[in-house]
Symmetry: C2
Subunit: 239 residues, 2 copies
Amino acid sequence: MTNLRKLSAVGVGPGDAELITLKGFRRLQAAEVVFVPQSKDGSMSLAHRIVEKHLSDDQLVVSLPLPMTRNPDLLVPAWESAAEAILQVMVANRVTNAVYILLGDPMLYGTFTYIWERLAVMAPDLEIEIVPGVTSFAATAAVTQTILSTTDDRLAILPASYETDTAVLEDLLSRFDTIILMKVGPVLSQVLESLDSLGLIDKAVYGERVGMPEEVLVTDVRTLMGQTRPYLSLLVVKK
Amino acid sequence: MTNLRKLSAVGVGPGDAELITLKGFRRLQAAEVVFVPQSKDGSMSLAHRIVEKHLSDDQLVVSLPLPMTRNPDLLVPAWESAAEAILQVMVANRVTNAVYILLGDPMLYGTFTYIWERLAVMAPDLEIEIVPGVTSFAATAAVTQTILSTTDDRLAILPASYETDTAVLEDLLSRFDTIILMKVGPVLSQVLESLDSLGLIDKAVYGERVGMPEEVLVTDVRTLMGQTRPYLSLLVVKK
């Protein structure tokens, strides 16, 4: 028996509606239902805002509440509920093609992977497709004209919230040509202080919600010292 | 005076013509000239093959010979010639919109960055735009359903040809959750032996020319031991 139901997790890119892929665009247009991760503070509905102009009125959009927290007591039940909601909506509406949208690329710090684990247990017959997307760091590099790597360069991608130890950062910076600190906003002060003490602060560029109307790009990152910024932000440090 | 001439470096993604972004697609369609990096062995004209169906007959396609070598005596003159050719063609044909296409993303080990340096000197008034693209590792992760990173995971991207030292690889593997070894084909045997001795060979997946008709995907990478494979290939090692 072939699969009758397919869910495509589509990376819609970091912010610019034009940075979705043709494949992602076509999956969106063919979808009867679009699932949208939604955080309380609204920041995760950004994926919905990005693709809004690509959707038509007869497409069902279903928000899946996912709290912005590291607390597993809140996260695990939210993932379970999201997986249940996806299956319920797909069965009740006899959906054959659905899309789950998310910022950037699905496999890089994406929200779908956790829900996917539950779906795999709850509905092993559901076909899952991953449609890759442009990452926020590629978009930041493009718009700030920062070359990420050439020839023999090594590049590290680190989740900044877990990398505030100056010694660790120093060690990694000594081994890599380029370091990308993802989700840096909430710990920006600490990270900039570390970079300053390592003599690397002038090698960094900052991008926040790149491609969105409220985009922030800062090439003189010293001006950001002492600030806390939103979660959807990154630093590229190129030695 | 505003710029009259614009050159967009467009990352066309790793192989699937549908993985170009809407922005890249529109730039391609608006371009009077499309510049295509071309190696002797033909492998770099892959970018041309990917976008061929998006082009029309009235668009000029100009091949730029770029040798597949690390020898700077061959590379530097090739970059100079490519930059000269771009400017000559744009001036002679009064081109206002041109596109330079390349595989993956322009800022990650792309061919354009070297030519860009020369263009900046030769024609500082030429407007350069970078259009980011889907990387080969995102596409490989998508098609093999390999999660690259979640929550606090660290990810390293290494040019495999320069990373054949088992001790270095071991050290990096101890600090990172995911390692992507780009352009691994020519040194595949050595890298697989290192991974085997580190007990990580069963954690690796291999992708070659992902999304192209000749795509090769291998999840049991032991079957590749002793082989040499093409340059456009990678290993994802996920602990």
